[in-house]
Assembly symmetry: C2
DNA sequence: GTCTATACAAAGATAGAC
DNA sequence: GTCTATCTTTGTATAGAC
């Protein structure tokens, strides 16, 4: 036995690791609560409780509600970029976008709180210039990454690829959000259909 | 003189009209405040003050914050449908969508509070099944209206037009929201470009 | 590092005066 | 129909015990 009390094995977590774990739990809980109630409607009390702690613990990790929110705001920028990289990876070897369409539908269906949270970020940013700039910046980065994939309609103009990338991103994002509201209206095949419009196959399928 | 006091002309508004006017002022103020702070962050006090009244007046017109929000929610559904009708009207006689593109850009630029409010409606609906159903229903109506315009890729299937309409709506809406975040990334011409992808011209412009 | 207790402020809603 | 005053709840943040 390791101890006089029935504690099981000594926690293998170092103090630093334990602290980091608490922080992660708080952030995950915050994501859920902010997604459900919005920034103002979320109470730090509920966030702490959702994570299995009390406000005291929360305030020892974050200066307050605002820092918690801004931390999530930036964390989700990273997640957004990872998604785009995954989408780009799946583009190769999936000429008719069936697999990628399924992936995007799954992306919409999982993480129920994620898209509500993104909507809250957007609304919040819309009335706060400094957040709006940060959001625009992160979206521009994603757009440039997608632009590298675009077949250029009018070769020679880089702007053309950027414009097309903006179309792809807003189209896919719009479809994801619509699928969350009404899954039947956006079957996985519709994602593929949308993508085929932007990335036409190298060979023409003459109807007949 | 009309009165012993310096009141100016007797208000031409009937009592019913005056009441309706107060109601409209309160609704307009509520739209602004909900857009800026979200549902939970908006205080009925600020809404009333913004309209030029106090809470007492507000509560004589609405049962509370929730009824105010839901009334706006349904009012904006009507505005949404009017937009779509206007878009459809502009489609005729605008073969390359230049005018319609400008119109959509203007739609994004005006009513700064409107799109923040729509984002709030969406986020709110995402975690409330009954609101989600109402929102999905109103969007389905708009989609069907657009579907009537679609050239059918695979004639004979009505589902095809509905699918294409879903693509058009999510694309344009996504562009409008992106333009609000960063106008430079979505010039008016990009709306036109997007529309041309869905409504190809009857004659092919052979590159050359 | 986490919890309990608490100070302090803000907001939703109601009652009654005018 | 609108305003003022008030009740009550909720929530942020802090202080101090362990």
């Amino acid at each position: 036995m390791w101890s006089t009390h029935d504690m099981g094995p000594p926690l293998r977590l170092t103090r630093a690791a334990a602290k980091a774990r608490t922080r992660e739990l708080l952030l995950a809980a915050a994501a859920q609560v902010f997604a459900e109630h919005g920034y103002a409607g979320a109470s730090v009390d509920e966030i702490a409780a959702q994570a299995g702690y009390t406000i005291g613990a929360l305030y020892s990790h974050f200066s307050g509600k605002d820092e918690l929110f801004l931390t999530l705001f930036d964390l989700h920028a990273a997640g957004h970029l990872r998604d785009i990289e995954e989408i780009i990876r799946q583009c190769t070897g999936d000429p008719d976008f069936t697999a990628l369409g399924d992936y995007l539908a799954t992306l919409a269906d999982n993480d129920s709180c994620r898209w509500a949270l993104e909507s809250e970020f957007r609304r919040h940013a819309m009335t706060r210039p400094e957040l709006m700039a940060r959001l625009a910046e992160r979206r521009a980065a994603g757009q440039t990454a997608i632009a590298g994939l675009m077949p250029c309609r009018r070769p020679g103009t880089a702007q053309c690829a950027e414009d097309d990338a903006a179309l792809v991103i807003t189209q896919l994002e719009g479809l994801i959000l619509q699928r969350r509201l009404n899954p039947a209206s956006v079957p996985p095949g519709l994602f593929a259909e949308a993508l085929r419009r932007f990335f036409p196959p190298p060979t023409w399928a003459g109807g007949g």
